[in-house]
Symmetry: C2
Subunit: 242 residues, 2 copies
């Protein structure tokens, strides 16, 4: 893949530390963007993902990596999610098309708004996010309609757009890809997936459970790509290999 016209431009990349965002960061880097990674410490039970986010950011050679604290739990009247509150993470959940209890209210609107502020301060006009509307958990804020609406908002929300007519672009390069295609592309781009973390409910050592939605989507993606997932799971044998 060649550098395109983005060479030298700055971008903000939302980086959770998971498989998707690590791939998106690699895409932005390959396109020639100088990348400012942003992660959130929002009270998630899988806070271990921030360790991965740091490793992934370092490996990708980002310009900056900021971890922003923001309490999205029920303690401040938000949350009500299995990811932030005392609600069990569903395991081996059949995909019924519904929105699971791991949904965090308005999370991507909040994260993208913070990324927009970071972009304005860093002088970036491109924001990358690893949402995916194919192999995903059913969250409404991962769909193309949401991303389009946020881009329209971004271009009304800042001094940069109001004063200088500078348009923000929200890039969601994975949105129509299967998990297997994402893994294959990431491998092609040299992503080291051993640095990433996807599990919603890791043990105290950060080992993945293998049974939450996020683990199951990840494992299915590696299986589809015909590649072995390099991370460790809580059981010696990966659940999908039993």
């Amino acid at each position: 893949m060649c550098m395109d016209q983005s060479e030298g431009k700055s971008a903000v990349v939302l980086l959770s530390g998971g498989l998707d965002s690590a791939t998106v960061l690699a895409i932005a880097r390959r396109k020639g963007y100088r990348c400012h990674a942003v992660s959130f410490d929002y009270g998630q039970r899988h806070r271990f993902e921030l360790v991965s986010a740091k490793r992934v950011a370092e490996a990708a050679g980002v310009e900056t990596h900021r971890i922003i604290r923001i309490d999205l739990s029920a303690a401040v009247g938000l949350g009500g999610s299995a990811l932030t509150d005392d609600i069990p993470v569903p395991k081996d959940r059949p995909n019924d098309g519904g929105i699971p209890t791991t949904y965090v209210p308005a999370r991507n609107a909040i994260f993208l708004s913070m990324a927009l502020a970071r972009a304005e301060v860093a002088g970036a006009r491109d924001i990358f996010i690893g949402v995916n509307a194919i192999d995903y958990s059913g969250y409404p804020d991962c769909r193309p309609e949401f991303i389009e609406a946020f881009q329209t908002l971004a271009n009304q929300a800042t001094a940069a757009s109001a004063q200088n007519g500078q348009d923000f672009t929200i890039h969601a390069p994975l949105i129509n890809m299967s998990k297997g295609q994402i893994v294959s592309l990431g491998i092609e781009l040299g992503v080291d997936y051993s640095l990433t973390h996807s599990c919603y409910d890791p043990d105290e050592n950060g080992l993945a459970c293998g049974h939450c939605d996020s683990c199951r989507l990840r494992l299915a993606g590696f299986r589809e790509a015909g590649i072995e997932d390099p991370i460790m799971y809580q059981h010696t044998r990966k659940p999908d290999q039993q």
Copy 2:
């Protein structure tokens, strides 16, 4: 003013503790909404406004009042504003139509996204914000185009809208009012403006400076309404009376 069809419905009201948001809260209460007030401790130098927010919320009889901490300062790569960082607050600034240094990048996008999360959790579908596009400081995220874009986003961003087709409405009842009209309406609704705080640069006792944009807009509003501003300023005589 009579109760309308909103009676018994819940609303989230963004409450800074200033003149505008106190008036908006009174409007929402008069319309019959049960109100969930949300304030932000975002590293603002005029953090004293949160004391006012508490007083205003109590006086209005809200259902809940949450103060959410969120660092928007340069320390986390955001901010770069005279309100959050070591930049002097401009005094007696002529209104040149530009965007002043008190602008906080993407602030209302961030605040409304958090309010949207709070609304989803509290079961509210109405969000009230005290933005004003007439007598204001030139912030881009106070204009009608911004509010409309956020409402479109809100209806793509949440489980409530995706699952149940429940539409969120962003109410900005002050957007086309002059500051004088806002004060007159607030007095009619029984707002106790002695509880409010507007100054960007108060002294250690919370006394207003009288010279920042926010003080000057406030003082001009009371003057236009022909009503005396009940708060104390740093000088015995209010600056506009000298």
